[in-house]
């Protein structure tokens, strides 16, 4: 019937009759089979009136089912309407791929309306990976050869959107022909299609080359802009093309000149600027052609200067052109005067009221600041103003730019501004900003006093967002500048005495320094008067404050211990505080408490030499990456970073060996200090430094690094050298060895130390035997013996076993502070294999916030333990549940497990 209608198209009366018959037949048919298809407009109304998502889905599903049915029945009368509806449904995010074939049928239809919807459907439902492409390629070929420009136009549009490499090859000939068409409407579409084709199949580029020549002599802007785009792409794709098109630079210059000189042309005017889009495209092509080519650059210098000076900069459209001009000036080999002009344009942008323009300017300045630093410096004050901008992305760019601008001359003013910025910055900025401040200060500081002041201000301003490397750099700086230590310690005391206990990094720096140089504080050198009792008071406040992290308390406890050798009257109270920690809830602090108490009693004679001042870190500092590693290593004694070990390994470098060589001839107590001082001896050097007959024999067989030993050494602030473990095993009997395997007892360490200082092995072993017993108990039964000091008035909650499988046991104990529950997790390796790469991951319900601290280690020897602190903020007091995932390596294979912990004691949220 369709055929009949088509062939009789001209005889309208007959057609009318037949159409009527078709409609009638259709109506009868539909009365029997199905309702009339609703109109697109009505479907959209129905969908819009749906009140819930479910209702909308129901409408869509019903309609989709119906559309499918009509598709199956090859209903051609309503096809166009049904595909249109389907496209609307697709746009709402519903699947509609069953309409692909129908689109192809519509494209093949002679009616323009059908074609239009069909091609739209093809662009939306098909992409270049579809296998229906063969079919559509034929239709496209027909339509590209159509006599109607709009049909050709539709086909070109579709080709531009979905051309695959195969399609590109098949249809490149047609496109090339249309590129030379007499119709501008077709030419510009063909130019963009050609661009798409060469993107897909670069070899076809040659084919379009002849046609491009005429594109630039066009009057029609649409053809010009697409032609320029096509040439740009060709130049980017192939160096040969780039060379070929160098000769068109004068043509481009002429076009651009005509554009800016030409008077008002209503057709292309955008707010008083003549075709800004074309100008931008030409400027971009000029940039590509002029890049690295002085002749081409020479030719375009003048026009760039003209555009830069003549373009109106009060509106966005003018600034779009100026911006593109600046980029071109910076990229080509332009004259220096022109470059200054370009940067001044950006400087003017910074003062613009439009935030978009300020943003673009900062971004561009950031790109060019290294090439033209002095020109950018002139706009420093404007850039500093941008630090206060309302838009966060502008502040971020401004900050980066400020750091790029810092030099020896402006460091004082810049740092002042940046510190103000740091103080008020969003948390996400604080870490990067403080690190960059430290780097800048290190590089350009005018004097040490200023440097120290600045670092302290950085640590203070960044609060808890100070990264670890900033803490260690600060400590390092103070440690290595003897002349300023008294000043620094005085300043730090001032900070500490009024400190906000929730800001950990400042307390850590302060306690470290006061521990080291506390004597300077007391003998009046530090420009403050301090009573010993005041110091003890502050330390007690820190040690018992619930706001202070475990790491801070570790700093404080060690520092207090150091002070016991610096203070005169208050040693007794220090001993009291330290021994109270022997029963602390946290295993790490407990161990330190116990070990340090031993230094008051049994090993009191060693306390003085053991706690002497650390040697300055100058050796490690100063050469790039080594310096950084050194910076971290310093805090190792206190800081339980999981990557301790790898860092330490890295440190056995010639640089450090030199250090050892210079000191190893000193007396034994120096050798001890060396160990305490966080300097890692190279493997060979330890033998020399630690002069014990027993060790040298064992050193020949380097023992594998034992985590237990490493941990122990870690506790006292010692660096476990590669040979240290083997060193210590020499003097321990098998019995004691088994002890130390069961617990992370400090016995081995002390043994190692004693072995070096005392010449008789017998006394040493005796010491170990007595020492190791209590600590062994305390660590193997960690949850059973907390004796919480009276001053700690935290509610105590029974601990739980969170996991006990596959040779891994996780015990959890809890501390509650308002809505924050601190979970101290103790992982025990109950298997016989060495565990490495231990990883604990956890998730809590959405209303809770979870913060995981770094674990004390990631590897455990058999029976060894590690700790990890997890903080859960539970403001709405909901029952705590936690999903966890565990993984570790044992015996060379990865063990993974996951599960849910739902048996937390209800006391945690009630």
């Amino acid at each position: 019937m369709n055929k009949a209608r088509d062939s009789l198209g001209t005889m309208s009366s007959i057609k009318q009759v037949i159409n009527d018959a078709v409609e009638k037949g259709k109506e009868v048919y539909e009365k029997v089979r199905q309702p009339n298809p609703i109109r697109l407009r009505d479907l959209i109304r129905q969908i819009r009136s749906a009140k819930t998502a479910a209702e909308e889905r129901a409408v869509v599903n019903r309609e989709c089912a119906y559309i499918r049915l009509t598709f199956r029945e090859e209903d051609s009368v309503w096809r166009c309407r049904n595909v249109a509806k389907l496209l609307y449904i697709h746009m709402l995010g519903y699947p509609a791929h069953f309409g692909q074939m129908e689109c192809l049928k519509l494209i093949a239809s002679p009616r323009f309306t059908d074609k239009r919807i069909g091609y739209l459907g093809a662009m939306l439902l098909l992409d270049e990976r579809q296998d229906v492409h063969l079919l559509i390629t034929n239709s496209l070929k027909n339509d590209l050869n159509s006599s109607t420009q709009f049909v050709q136009g539709l086909a070109l549009c579709t080709l531009g959107a979905i051309a695959s490499p195969e399609m590109s090859r098949d249809l490149a000939g047609e496109v090339e022909r249309l590129l030379k068409s007499s119709n501008a409407y077709i030419r510009k579409k063909a130019a963009v299609c050609a661009l798409r084709i060469i993107l897909k199949v670069p070899e076809l580029m040659e084919m379009f080359l002849p046609a491009t020549r005429s594109l630039l002599s066009e009057k029609n802007h649409g053809v010009l802009i697409t032609g320029v785009t096509l040439i740009t792409e060709m130049c980017l794709q192939s160096p040969d093309m780039l060379a070929h098109f160098k000769k068109i630079v004068p043509n481009l210059v002429r076009i651009l000149k005509n554009l800016i000189m030409a008077g008002y042309s209503p057709e292309h005017d955008v707010q008083g600027v003549s075709d800004p889009f074309l100008q931008v495209k030409i400027l971009k092509l000029l940039r590509i052609l002029g890049c690295g080519d002085s002749d081409a650059s020479e030719t375009m210098n003048d026009i760039l200067a003209q555009v830069a000076t003549n373009t109106e900069s009060s509106k966005n459209v003018g600034n779009a052109i100026l911006y593109e001009t600046v980029l071109s000036i910076m990229d080509i080999k332009s004259e220096s005067g022109l470059r200054v002009l370009a940067i001044n344009i950006l400087g003017r942008f910074l003062l613009n009221a439009d935030k978009n323009i300020r943003y673009v300017a900062l971004n561009t300045l950031l790109r060019v600041v290294h090439a033209d630093n002095s020109a950018v410096q002139r706009h420093r004050s404007t850039i500093l103003e941008c630090l206060k901008d309302a838009d966060i992305s502008i502040r971020k760019r401004a900050m980066e730019l400020c750091f790029a601008l810092i030099n020896g001359n402006n460091i004082r003013t810049m740092m002042k501004e940046l510190l103000t910025f740091l103080e008020n910055a969003e948390p996400e900025f604080k870490a990067t900003c403080s690190s960059k401040c430290v780097l800048a200060a290190e590089k350009y500081s005018p004097n040490v006093r200023w440097h120290i002041d600045t670092l302290l201000k950085v640590v203070e301003a960044a609060g808890n967002h100070v990264p670890d490397d900033v803490v260690s750099s600060t400590i390092q700086l103070i440690s290595e500048t003897r002349a300023e230590q008294a000043y620094a310690v005085g300043e730090l005391w001032r900070h500490l005495s009024v400190a906000q206990l929730e800001f950990q990094p400042m307390i850590q720096v302060s306690t470290w320094c006061i521990g080291e140089f506390g004597d300077l504080l007391l003998n009046g050198q530090a420009d403050v008067t301090v009573e010993e009792t005041q110091i003890i008071e502050i330390y007690q406040k820190i040690l018992w404050a619930s706001q202070c992290s475990i790491t801070t308390k570790e700093y404080a406890l060690t520092s207090l211990m150091k002070l016991s050798a610096r203070l005169n009257q208050e040693v007794g109270s220090i001993q009291q505080v330290v021994s109270a920690f022997g029963s602390h809830l946290n295993i790490e602090l407990q161990q330190r408490g116990i070990e340090y108490s031993q230094l008051f009693t049994r090993h009191n004679h060693m306390r003085g030499p053991l706690l002497e001042r650390m040697p300055p870190f100058e050796g490690v500092r100063g050469n790039g990456t080594e310096g950084e590693k050194g910076g971290i290593a310093i805090t190792n004694g206190l800081d339980n970073s999981p990557d301790n070990q790898s860092l330490l390994n890295d440190l056995s470098s010639p640089n450090n060996n030199n250090n050892i060589n210079s000191t190893h001839e000193n007396n034994e107590s120096n050798a001890l200090l060396l160990l305490l001082g966080g300097i890692e001896p190279g493997e060979g050097d330890t033998v020399q430094a630690v002069t014990s007959p027993a060790t040298s024999t064992i050193n020949a067989t380097p023992a594998p690094r034992s985590t237990v030993n490493a941990d122990i050494l870690d506790l006292l602030g010692l660096e476990p050298g590669p040979t240290a473990p083997s060193n210590t095993t020499t003097s321990t009997s098998p019995a004691q060895l088994s002890h130390t395997n069961n617990s992370s007892s400090p016995a081995l360490l002390l043994d190692g130390l004693l072995n070096n200082t005392s010449s008789t092995t017998t006394t040493t072993t005796a010491g170990i035997a007595s020492l190791s017993t209590p600590t062994a108990n305390s660590t193997t039964l960690p949850t059973n013996n907390f004796i919480i000091p009276q001053s700690l008035s935290q509610p105590s909650v029974p601990g739980i076993v969170a996991y006990d499988k596959n040779g891994m046991k996780l015990d959890m104990t809890f501390e509650i502070q308002d809505s924050v529950t601190t979970i101290n997790m103790l992982a025990t390796n109950t298997s016989l294999a060495q565990v490495t790469d231990f990883l604990f991951q956890a998730a809590v319900p959405k209303s809770l916030q979870l913060q995981m601290m770094t674990p004390s280690s990631t590897s455990m020897a058999p029976s060894a333990t590690l700790t990890q602190v997890i903080k859960v903020n539970n403001p709405s007091k909901v029952p705590l549940r936690m999903r966890m995932r565990l993984s570790w390596q044992a015996n060379g294979s990865v063990v993974q497990d996951q599960g849910e912990i739902s048996h937390f004691p209800p006391a945690l949220w009630q």
Partner: protein, 149 residues
Amino acid sequence: MTYRFTNAIRFILIQNRAGKTRLAKWYMNFDDDEKQKLIEEVHAVVTVRDAKHTNFVEFRNFKIVYRRYAGLYFCICVDIADNNLAYLEAIHNFVEVLNEYFHNVCELDLVFNFYKAYSVVDEMFLAGEIRETSQTKVLKQLLMLNSLE
């Protein structure tokens, strides 16, 4: 084979504040799920921004240049290195054409005549490139297209 899209538009998206798509034109290959995800992500990054923010957001490896007109967000996804300001102007140019074409365009015009809105896009952009910048020309062509229906 590597396809290098140098500075082309990746997609053009018109959404309302609730995240309903009013137009989505893709110039890069994504499968349907990915498209839906992109639409949601764009909605999430764009709607949280207010008047004090710039009209540019970095988005995956690209950036979105967007502009809000009443309840509709017009977003164009382009290369990081592209000229933000020019695309901002292109959006405005596009909206002016829509306004002229629909005689004071409103969201409902785009809803009920979505296929016409697509043909406006196709007249102004092609294969991710700006194709015609003259509003008068675009409108003339659109009217001729309509007369063929």
